[in-house]
Symmetry: C3
Subunit: 186 residues, 3 copies
């Protein structure tokens, strides 16, 4: 190759790459840089199961009490939880972490919740936390909430978590499958 041809090739290549480089952050591919699937298990305190319960009603609208979930699709109930996280859908599997935070039922005519919580890990496999927030229209088969941040192994992460109700037993137990897709990894 003579110098001129090389320069031309180089120049074209340069222009192409240069234009990409000049707009950092604009080209974003919707492909997770990290993906994790977990289950977590919520056993709601109902006045009789204090030993097994992992969550409790701590707020309720006027006229409702905090032992029985309120009528009108539990509208107004605020529930605090500390739930075991497992790798499979078995409540009795060894927990790999804890899901800690709250949910509140926020709609009168259908079941819908709002969630603010963290996955907290302190094992050989994962150390750190993932923080979540978002609406959970729980009658939908899958629902997306936001991963708003992370610490430790999940330092500065952002992404989407797709929730799916994997099982429920009346008003005492439910199990969520959480498919975490991180699109910002550090």
């Amino acid at each position: 190759m003579d110098p001129r041809s090389l320069i031309l090739t180089l120049f074209l290549l340069f222009l192409f790459t240069g234009s990409t480089a000049a707009s950092p952050g604009k080209i974003k591919v919707r492909r997770p840089c990290r993906r994790l699937v977990f289950y977590f298990h919520d056993v709601i305190y109902n006045g009789k199961n204090s030993k097994n319960a992992t969550s409790a009603i701590v707020g309720a609208p006027a006229g409702a009490n905090r032992t029985i979930l309120a009528g009108h699709n539990h509208f107004g109930n605020l529930v605090v939880f500390d739930d075991p996280i497992t790798l499979d859908n078995n409540l009795h599997s060894t927990p790999v972490g804890r899901a800690q935070g709250f949910y509140l039922y926020d709609k009168k005519d259908i079941f819908t919740a709002w969630l603010g919580f963290s996955f907290v890990f302190n094992s050989t496999q994962h150390k750190g936390s993932i923080n979540f927030a978002g609406a959970d229209p729980l009658m939908n088969k899958t629902r997306d909430i936001s991963v708003v941040g992370g610490t430790g192994d999940f330092f500065m992460s952002r992404g989407i978590a797709t929730l799916m109700t994997d099982a429920f037993e009346g008003e005492v137990y439910f199990r969520l499958r959480v498919d975490i897709k991180l699109y910002e990894c550090w």
Copy 2:
């Protein structure tokens, strides 16, 4: 142009672009990549308006009840809401989505709130959710909170929402104008 001149030009251009490329993300312009304005309407349950109410007090400090907003600028009241979102400032316009989440009054000597909520859309125009969090010093004409994430059409969004109290009627109704400015769009 002789090869040497071309190489020099190329080299200078390269150095310039190279230095931009080497620090991706540093040059950030404060110009929204997306902007949306909505209104939402909150009708607080007061013991008499259960049919129209869109929100309810579910937490209150000791000595206060959950039907009447507490004294001391409602300090300690936690309110859960499911409010209609409209494109204009008319409560009776067809809602385009729901604002769902909570606010809490967190100051004794002046009205101030803290908000955690989502805009949930499921129409032909918008599908997905926008998640918000932040302090709302509601005596200020405008207040900025954070857009901490989004899903669906608002996948991975971040930005600022400027709130303005557009109207209020005593302690039963208020309407907020929300000017959403997204600075990270995917």
Copy 3:
């Protein structure tokens, strides 16, 4: 240097820089672009200190009241706060802002909390807010939570805040040291 050598040098340099440029955002250094240290002070209302109290229990599980923190490591207590922020560890120093939001105790067998709050500044030194969310396993010496957003001087910030319990007096007072490390600055 003859043209061929220069072209080769240039080409190698170009390839190296080009590969960096082609993946903007991938090379992220874990060095804060901004760092701030503050203290905040929480005086919990206990039925007798209404004048000095800066926080109040507004949610509690069935069987507990809202004047005394609940048993079982306060599991289920939701506390709303408006706490002074100071530059040093003295409660009586002039506040530089307010820490506003909530925490909830979410575990029965050990003290653990979940936090959603903002630092709100309106002084000559800082104007704007920083929004935080995350789990606070408060028996650990230091705990990391997420900075999920910011407004004003902290426009669009993200990062990590390391919390440390700097002092506490029984169940009435605690002081947190907050070491804010921002990794995304605009």
